[in-house]
């Protein structure tokens, strides 16, 4: 199996924007790993064939961690009307500037990995449709129902090679 890092990111204080936290913890449970508490990122618990972390956003300081993996699976919320509720897509490295100083896409993350660390892990995005993004904790019922299918999609990717 390719050594894999599952990177969940989002804001748990904005309802479904934090769905990746639930997905990462559900995955960890299925893999027999301890769940991440609210203040934990998982960065201090790496070292097995499938590691997982949860962060507020993708950031440059994650690059040196990610450089040690052969496959990256990014998990986030989406609001695209024309794709499935759990949407999985292969992602390629690509440079693109952003209006915000702190917005980094998976494609940009992979591009920086390639340029700065000379590595080209396989990249996937598994995104879950969000229904509500109010200022509160907890997922909407419709998004809660997509957590298990999202985990299954990730496990299918893990089993692929």
């Amino acid at each position: 199996m390719l050594r894999t890092l599952v990177i969940g990111y989002g804001n748990p204080d904005r309802q479904d924007d934090g769905v990746a936290y639930a997905v990462v913890n559900a995955l960890r449970q299925r893999l027999g790993q301890a769940r991440l508490d609210e203040d934990e990122t998982g960065l201090e618990q790496l070292g097995v064939s499938v590691d997982s972390v949860f962060l507020l956003q993708l950031a440059p300081d994650l690059l040196d961690v990610a450089a040690g993996y052969q496959r990256l699976i990014f998990v986030d919320a989406h609001v695209f009307p024309d794709v499935e509720d759990v949407h999985s897509v292969l992602v390629q490295p690509e440079y693109a500037t952003a209006a915000f100083t702190h917005h980094m896409t998976p494609a940009l993350f992979l591009a920086l990995l390639q340029t700065l660390y000379g590595c080209q892990p396989e990249g996937h995005i598994v995104s879950v449709r969000g229904q509500g993004f109010d200022f509160e904790r907890g997922l909407t019922p419709a998004t809660v129902e997509q957590v298990a299918p999202a985990v299954e999609r990730i496990q299918a990717l893990l089993a692929a090679k």
Binding site: D39, P60, F100, T101
Partner: protein, 474 residues
Amino acid sequence: MAQKITIEPVTRIEGHARVTIHLDDAGRVENTYFHVDEFRGVEKFSEGRPYFEMAQITQRICGICPVSHHLAAAKAGDNVAGAKPPRPANLLRELLHMGQIVQSHSMHFFHLAAPDLIFGFDADPATRNVFGIVQANPELALKAVNLRRYGQQIIERLGGKRVHPNLAVPGGVNAPLSQKDRDAIAAERETMVGYALEAIAIAKDLLGADANLTNSFAAFPSCYMGLVDAEGGLQLYDGEIRVVDAKGQKMAQFKPQDYKEHVAEHVECWSFLKFPYLKALGWPQGTYRVGPLGRLNVADKIGTPLAGAEFGLFKQINGGKPVEGSLYYHYARLIENLYALEQIGELLDDPDILSRDVRTYPPAELIGHGVGVIEAPRGTLFHEYWTDEHGLLTRVNLIVATGNNNWAMNTAAGQVARAFVDGTRLTEGMLNRVEAAIRCYDPCLSCATHALGQMPLHVTLHAADGSILDQVRR
């Protein structure tokens, strides 16, 4: 006919702002305004909360410099409670603070400021950014990433998380430092010092390439403010507040709790960001600058060897008088970055750094009022709290670092607009120069106004009748 140019948003800064440039009938710049339209309201919604929550609440004002608010709030809480932290606790708080200085200053130079200096103000915006630097010089970009990572990891080792750490509490900190974490921080420090020295060399080359521009770009006299230690040396964590005038003469030096005797805030209708000023001189004569340039202009020395030597060179720029050019903020920022890395070494070598005596528990009866002041990466940060007998906040006042520089950013933008903007022939590079003047101050507008903004991204030049004469898009 009179015209108005709007730059919205100002790019490569933290937070959201716009600049309007008002032209006279001949197309010359008449007035320039730096508008901050965010509104946070932290001072108000904190009322009723227990004072000891503020170290967690206020650091969520911002994800860029949360540690500054965390520590200022804890210091104010120390005074509310009447609980003086033990020395080891202050060492750990300062270590956390140095981690933030390193990550913030490194990030600003390489990510936000360097693209203008390396590629030029008129370079194609598609490459005039950090990704252009990554592609042009990946080795340098990797060093920048590692400097930021190093600072973030110090914060994580001490406070459990890279953003919004949990360490400082009223009366001290909630955990000692482990030997393992101490050694891990120490192991990479020398390498990071090397990177910091390299960054200074790059900045000096870039700023020296056109000395006339560097000396004149957004250069103007002002007062300056910063913390100093007992010997007048640079202090970022604790000390007295010193103010010098435009000639470098000391105007005032006072304890943080006395700040209200010296500082007041002015309001303009066109911005949510207030304008602090010195009461002694009144508004607007009493305006001052804070942050790296302000701090190095008020300090007599820097107490660490490498940064101290660089400080000596800095002081020669204007013959020992305050350095006025806004572009020198970038140089001053990198000197502070170097100081922070050296200070991390001093702290790690202190015999008390691993002590388990890290908390003084508050007495039963609270003082009920406290001030906490710290030098955030962007400047002097004031937190002041009033509580009832139960410790619930009845009033909060925050003067945030960037707010102290509000007048200066307006002045810088206006000066550069007058020098470079030609209303009859608008170019993207002209407007980028106006933004670059603001970027020198590394503003954090999310902090200073205590949002979520919409992000339209174009500049339009309107005639007096509202018709569009010209547009520039980014």
